[in-house]
Symmetry: C2
Subunit: 197 residues, 2 copies
């Protein structure tokens, strides 16, 4: 039997604290000192795992995207369910997750993209790749659903999701209507084209 | 003849510096010290105009929304042009403005909504009101254009715009495709409903 992995636990713990802080304050509003205090981890330990704040942000971003990619895999691969049902279940899961957040954190991609400190080339490239993979996953399912323009529709769903979360961070009451709009948009854009008259 | 208004100029100057800094770094990433240094204004002068960083952010937000509200008024009131042409001209203006930004600042509403420091009740209430007014202006024009569901469509356009700017801040090459999606969405959602078969 292998024992616990204290190093790995510390790293995971730092990443969890970093995620919570970055969702609330943005990249530029987060100091390593605050993360260390919240995680009760000494400075040397942080630099054992992460060479810089940018490396840390990249690790937080990677853990975050892995969580969401796993959610998509779990829901999207259920081949016995109609593809549109799977997409709606995915929207339901996202809404339930955001409803449970106190305070509402929104989407790390949106938060990191907004603040310039995070716009070093590596963070920007990582965000761009992550969003492209997300869009590909949605487009694959939309293709299966027979949507007329899967890639375009996937891109619109992502834009609307990010925009709805921005509003909800200003006004939590806007969260539910935002998801209602997203579901209607999905319905509108996946309707088969009507035959020409 | 009245002379110049040095006080007013200092206030305007501080707001311009604050806007540039907040667009890049978010609310939590902006320090008053940095604003004062960039504006070459002494500390006492800042506190002559603004009681706190939150008051300052509210003033920046107000100046920003006034600029965009004026753009909408100028374009939306041209009653001789079809309403959809006016909406497309509005999207063209927004795209041209963002294309000219170096670096791309995106939308202050999105940036401020994302970072928790700005989520004091007053900033959140101001953001919520500003977005509601924006949505009302768009819905009025969409009603004139005969769109089937003006308020819902206005809300979707705002969500998609904010989401498209998030992507563009990660990857400037995403700006033009984002606006192309926005124009197509406008076209799709303003098509008159087809008669039932």
């Amino acid at each position: 039997m292998s024992g616990p992995h204290p190093h790995r636990d510390t790293r995971t713990h730092l990443i969890a604290e970093g995620l919570a802080a970055m969702l609330r304050h943005g990249y530029d509003g987060v100091g390593i000192g605050g993360i260390l205090a919240a995680a009760e981890v000494p400075k040397g330990s942080f630099y054992h795992f992460f060479a810089s704040k940018e490396d840390f942000a990249l690790a937080v971003l990677d853990a975050y995207q892995a969580h969401y990619a796993a959610l998509r895999r779990a829901l999207f691969v259920q081949a016995e369910r109609p593809a549109l049902d799977r997409l709606n279940a995915y929207l339901d899961s996202l809404e339930a997750m955001h409803r449970a957040e106190r305070p509402l954190g929104g989407c790390l991609y949106g938060v990191l993209a907004q603040t310039a400190g995070a716009r070093g080339d590596r963070v920007r490239a990582s965000l761009t790749t992550i969003i492209a993979n997300w869009q590909d996953d949605l487009a694959t399912l939309l293709t299966e659903a027979g949507a007329p323009d899967p890639d375009e529709t996937a891109a619109l769903l992502i834009d609307c999701y990010e925009g709805a979360l921005i509003r909800a961070k200003a006004d939590p009451a806007a969260l539910a209507p935002g998801f209602t709009r997203l579901r209607r948009l999905l319905r509108t854009l996946t309707e088969p084209p009507l035959p020409a008259h």
